[in-house]
Each structure stands twice: as C-alpha cells, then as structure tokens.
C-alpha cells in the first residue's frame, strides 16, 4: 500500500515579500479608504447631533478634544488628503497616463510623500 499523499505546503508570501513603493501606496489607499468610511460615519453622527441632541453634541465635541479624538481627526484628515492624491494617480493611470514602469514607481513615491506631508500638516494644524 502506498503511503498517504501529503499536502504540499504553500510557499511563504506576504510575510516574506519585500514592500515596494507601489505596493505600499496601494495598501495605504485601501487603509485610508477604510479610515474615511469611519470618518464619514462619525461626521454623519456629528451632523445629526448638531441638529437634534444638544447633549450628544457636547459629548462628541469633548471627545474630539481628547487624545483619541485628536488622533482620529489627525488620521481622518491625512487619509482624506492621501486618498485624494493616490486616487488621482489611479484615475490618471486608468486614463493611460504615467503607465511606464518608472513613472508608476515615481508616482507611487510622490503619492506616499504627499501622504507623509498630509500627516505632518494635520499634526501641526491640530
């Protein structure tokens, strides 16, 4: 009787793959998108509180001035700016602009740099 066939292991992937600028830019686009969804939910909540409940409005305003609230605003603002910059990059690529290999790398670095500047500016502003 032949021995049972063993399942072949899958070669390592995300854990070993070196992060390159376009890969980081793409992942950051998705992460910033997720943060923006949370930010919009919070913003809708805030608008609702402005219109209806005075108590909730005061609580939300206090929360925004706490460390966690400030962090949330910081990430939300920076995400908005990064998502806009990289989103513009994706739209241009979809339209066939900047599709050379080096341009793709350069535009990813530029988008990431814009994200870093956005983080810095939001930090200073808040």
């Amino acid at each position: 009787m032949s021995p049972p066939e063993r399942k072949m292991p899958l070669s390592p992937r995300l854990a070993v793959y070196r992060w390159r600028a376009p890969m980081v830019a793409s992942l950051a686009h998705r992460v910033s998108g997720l943060i923006l969804i949370l930010f919009i939910l919070f913003f809708l909540c805030f608008l609702h509180a402005v219109n209806t409940e005075g108590m909730l409005f005061t609580q939300l305003q206090e929360w925004m001035h706490s460390t966690v609230g400030q962090l949330f605003l910081w990430l939300g603002g920076a995400s908005l700016m990064y998502h806009w910059c990289n989103g513009l990059r994706f739209v241009l690529l979809d339209a066939g602009m900047g599709e050379q290999r080096q341009s793709m790398r350069t535009s990813a670095r530029l988008a990431l740099a814009a994200g870093a500047v956005a983080l810095l500016l939001m930090g200073v502003w808040l």
Binding site: M8, P9, S11, P12, R13, L14, P22
Partner: protein, 237 residues
C-alpha cells in the same frame, strides 16, 4: 588573500523527510566577477549539498525556469548578480504556490490559467499560401508582450492572486490575453473579452503593481491589464 564568500539562507523542504519547511545556511566562494545567483546554487548542488533541488535550464534568462524569491522580491536566479545582494541572501520558492520540494513549486494552476486565455491565433479565414502578414506598426503593437517567458515571477508577486488565485487569472495570463487581443491577425476579440469580463478574472487587479516591479524581462503586466479594461470600456460605447 581572503577568499570572498557569499552567504545564503535557502528554503528547504523534502516531503519525504520534513514535517515543515526550514531555512538552511550555505557559504559559497565568490568564484568570478559577475557571478550570478544560479552559479552559487549550482556550486551548492555540485560541491556542497546534492540534495538541494531547483529548476534551471538555459542559464541566461530565456527559459524562465529558475524564477524564485530573492531577498523578498521575485526574479530569475540566472540573471541576478550576487554582488550587491544583501547577505545572507534569502532564497525562497515563488510565493503563494504549492511547494513540491525545496525551490520547486507546482505550476500546474499557473499554466492552466495561461491556457484558459487561449494563447494562440484564432482566425476562421482560410490560411494564405504563405503567412498572415502584418505591417511593421501592427507587429510593433506586440512589443512588450511577446517577450514574456512565463517564468511566473509576476503572478507569484501579486497579493490579489495569492488570495484569489483560484478565480483571478493573474498578471502573466492577462498579459498574454492582451497580447492576443492586440494581434492584428487574431479575430476572436469579442470572445476573448467576453471571457475576461468578470469581477474576479480581470477586475481583481487592484493596481498593486508588484508584477511590473518583479518582471525580469522588464515588461509591464499592469499596463496590459489596464489596456484590457479600456478595451472593454470602449466596447460598451
């Protein structure tokens, strides 16, 4: 004079002996200027450890056999100079593929996906006496695509393919799909586009661009995928 040594950590897995894959350290003398990584692997195979298993054939970046993950990025061992690589050089099989042994992966699924795009000329008209002619401009449309050697470096670098490889065709197959869509002699554009127009088969590409970055032939599968998308958009108008 001290002999220069290259240090390598290589992924090892023998299904007959090992329960789990492991990394094994080797030291290889730097034998010549311009030495390639494949030379180092061959040195191990022939002089240090004959059990090390890897694919290779032409040794000059044409056959695409020795695609592997080198220091975290996919590439061909035969055209990767060892000088300049961070040591110890980390060598693993192409990511996201079942490992048969050591650096040899099972490429069955990869080639099944390649076959699924029908990578051959489809033209119902009778064959001419000699060949189907193309103008120089029509022939030039295939530049940047026909050079693909199907090494798998691009597909195995794509996170979308790692996670949805059963449904997403991956960069190599899509580059070939675009190659046949752009061939002026091919007449199956609509059938090809029908087969590609799918939220997973084509649109699972999220422009991560690892494929473009990894391709040892400096091709651009990301652009090819975008070209197919634009062609689909124009077809709808």
């Amino acid at each position: 004079m001290n002999e220069q040594v290259i240090q390598l950590d290589i992924y090892r897995y023998n299904p007959e002996k090992d329960d789990e894959p492991r990394m094994q350290h080797y030291e290889v003398p730097l034998s010549k200027k311009g030495m390639k990584l494949l030379d180092a692997l061959n040195h191990i195979k022939w002089h240090i450890d004959g059990t090390l298993t890897f694919r290779r054939s032409c040794g000059e970046g044409v056959c695409g056999s020795d695609g592997m993950n080198i220091n975290g990025v996919n590439g061909l061992a035969c055209i990767t100079p060892v000088e300049g690589l961070k040591q110890p050089v980390q060598i693993r099989p192409l990511p996201g593929m079942p490992v048969i042994r050591d650096l040899v992966v099972d490429t069955t699924h990869f080639f099944d996906q390649y076959r699924s795009v029908k990578p051959w000329l489809q033209n119902a008209r009778p064959s001419p006496e000699q060949e189907r002619l193309q103008s120089p401009a029509e022939r030039a449309e295939l530049d940047g695509m026909y050079e693909c050697i199907l090494c798998g470096c691009c597909t195995a670098s794509c996170p979308s393919w790692w996670w949805n490889g059963n449904r997403f065709l991956g960069p190599a197959a899509l580059l070939q799909a675009d190659r046949w869509l752009k061939d002026s002699r091919d007449e199956a554009d609509n059938e090809r586009l029908d087969q590609l127009e799918d939220s997973f088969r084509l649109y699972r590409c999220h422009q991560i661009m690892n494929c473009m970055d990894a391709c040892p032939k400096e091709l651009n599968p990301t652009k090819a995928i975008n070209d197919i998308r634009r062609r689909l958009l124009l077809r709808r108008r």
